[in-house]
Symmetry: C2
Subunit: 379 residues, 2 copies
């Protein structure tokens, strides 16, 4: 499959005459562009050798063929991203759209402790982004989208093994990640037990803080060539890295799975308050989060750390006796609370403020219910 | 995953404040609707038992977990369908959209000789289709979409194991099919050799003929409640079955793979002329099609049989000595030509008219180059 597959699909799977579509003859520049992408992805237009022989057939056939090791099961996750909802073409650099699109899926694999095997990308793009030969056209946008996506894929050993492409009035990218994990060893959300400790990787709220800064920029930047149309500067993009280029914690998830120390795990895609609620719900437990222990990202507020999504850190539980290091594969790990029994009628998550604003112990602890405040969408 | 996953995702994977989206509070009716779908899919809201234990975890976690048998490899295919391009909300019954969406992916598995394991659906729907309580709302449309999709999935043993859902200005459905096939036994496009015979299952051109009739209906039906808005009648839908409810040849593909008789295979999704060109290209051979042998679908023209797409029949090659039955699992198999050596500068596919219009042998054969005329799209 790969982009030869995409090429084939674009011709193959759209209906014959009768359903509205673009003229049948396409500019040779577009064909050349897609071939260029395909060759970038595949290395060569024939078969994909695949990293470690895992993608046996990635090009030029009806399906991609993937192999996993004996005793492994397959983890699959799909993430649909749309312009105006998960990214904005007028805000986000194309590289960041590609990166973020793939990061969502890799983070799901990380949360299961699965190693990435193959990625599949279905792209729907407005005609303006498929035109070649101009800065605003696909040669610019699509190449840069793939720059971002393929760099992250390579970093985590995921082979882009196929996909589909169609013209669409709105830019959409649906990413499927296929991973592998030893049978029965996947990190689930449902394994947390009362008495265990709650940990999180990295820092929280950085993505939300970056998004807030980006929104401010968009509201004040001039629409013309010197402002929004030109996009954000490289320096500003670097400052917003937590939002534009979140790092899925694949290595950390694998470490936890291999060591067998975590009893439950989930990725913080939706904000701590919401994802912790999912974990508690699936495990039928409650949790207490210590506000003072929260690793708040530099420049972020406590509210952004509690409720801001898209940090893609791992939230996991482990028995009190298990030694959890302060860092896994270079990323900090912080204990932020504990799992307790859930009693009917009580809040499932409590935020404990153990100290006053000057750092002194308060008389007694201040316990507040922490209600999920992640983004509600569609339902 | 399953539709709990979809529910989670809709909350989880959309960005927090700042990127345009609907109000955070959603009507409880919508939540109820999605839960209803989830329960339909999963059977119960906890774990999916899965057919034959293949889907170990299909709900409520970051990824679905699938198991395949020892010695099998995994086949993955993705197919992106958009309103106005692959289907039309104002033409196609919702059940047909669901059916056709899944059929595309099942047909890809069939062409590899893979058995279906799991399906994943990413849906982007306009707000109008997610409203409940009205005939035009989601309770009608989405339920019927799933009626069509789940009926076909059940028929072929594919478990809907997850997906994603988002609001979108255009209706889109991206379907991923995961299948399994014994290692090294998948039917590829690249195995055809000169001297072998060319076969096709079923009849060709029926989908294109049905689409043409549907287009005529749409052009003449009144837009009001008695016409297009009401949709096509059940009787008319039955007449258009080849277009609305194409049958992926999963059983036939499995039969060919298990017997080891086919040397190459592809599904006719794009029209015989185009898909045969793909097969010839991948196998580095040429082909001669005998016009008189073509199984033209009742009501279809020869042109529709040659170039019309979406029939989802299997096109395959086998050595001359191998006995190929007249039918596989109840579907006719017809020899339509042969594979020959490809000589540079010669057409890769030739249409041989062996008889004149009265059925008498012509003096000599009339050989015409058959150029791929499948739908060109995007590139």
């Amino acid at each position: 499959m790969s982009y030869a597959h995409i090429m084939r699909k674009t011709r193959a799977k759209t209906p014959p005459r009768g359903i509205a579509g673009p003229p049948r003859a396409a500019a040779s520049g577009e064909v050349a562009l897609i071939r260029q992408i395909r060759d970038r992805v595949a290395g060569h237009p024939g078969r994909v050798a695949g990293q470690q022989g895992r993608v046996r057939l990635g090009i030029g056939d009806d399906c991609a063929l993937l192999r996993v090791r004996q005793g492994e099961e397959i983890a699959v996750t799909t993430d649909l991203s749309l312009d105006g909802r998960h990214f904005r073409l007028d805000w986000h650099p194309a590289e960041a759209v590609g990166h973020r699109t793939l990061a969502r899926g890799l983070s799901d694999l990380a949360a299961m402790g699965a190693r990435p095997v193959g990625a599949f990308l279905s792209l729907g793009l407005p005609r303006a982004l498929t035109k070649t030969g101009s800065r605003t056209g696909s040669e610019a946008w699509l190449q840069r989208f793939f720059d971002g996506l393929l760099a992250l894929a390579a970093e985590h050993g995921a082979v882009l093994a196929g996909g589909d492409l169609a013209e669409s009035p709105v830019a959409i990218a649906d990413v499927v990640l296929v991973g592998a994990v030893p049978r029965g060893r996947a990190l689930l959300r449902s394994g947390a037990r009362a008495g265990e400790l709650l940990y999180v990787t990295g820092a929280l709220g950085g993505a939300a803080a970056g998004l807030a800064r980006l929104a401010t920029w968009a509201a004040t930047a001039k629409p013309g060539a010197r402002g929004r149309r030109r996009g954000i500067s490289a320096d500003f993009a670097a400052e917003l890295a937590a939002h534009l280029y979140p790092q899925p914690r694949v290595q950390q998830g694998l470490w936890l799975q291999r060591r067998g120390v975590a009893t439950a795990a989930i990725d913080v895609s939706d904000g701590l308050s919401t994802d912790l609620a999912h974990l508690c719900h699936e495990s039928d437990v409650a949790a207490e989060v210590d506000a003072d222990l929260l690793p708040v990202h530099a420049g972020a507020t406590q509210a952004q750390a509690l409720h801001g999504g898209e940090d893609y850190e791992l939230l996991f539980t482990a028995p009190e006796g298990k030694r959890i290091p302060n860092a896994i594969a270079g990323v900090a790990v912080t204990r932020i609370g504990r799992i307790v029994r859930w009693r009917a009628g009580r809040p499932q998550i409590t935020l404990v403020n153990g100290h006053d604003k000057n750092g002194h112990d308060k008389k007694g602890h201040d316990k507040l219910p922490l209600t999920p405040q992640g983004w509600e969408h569609f339902c």
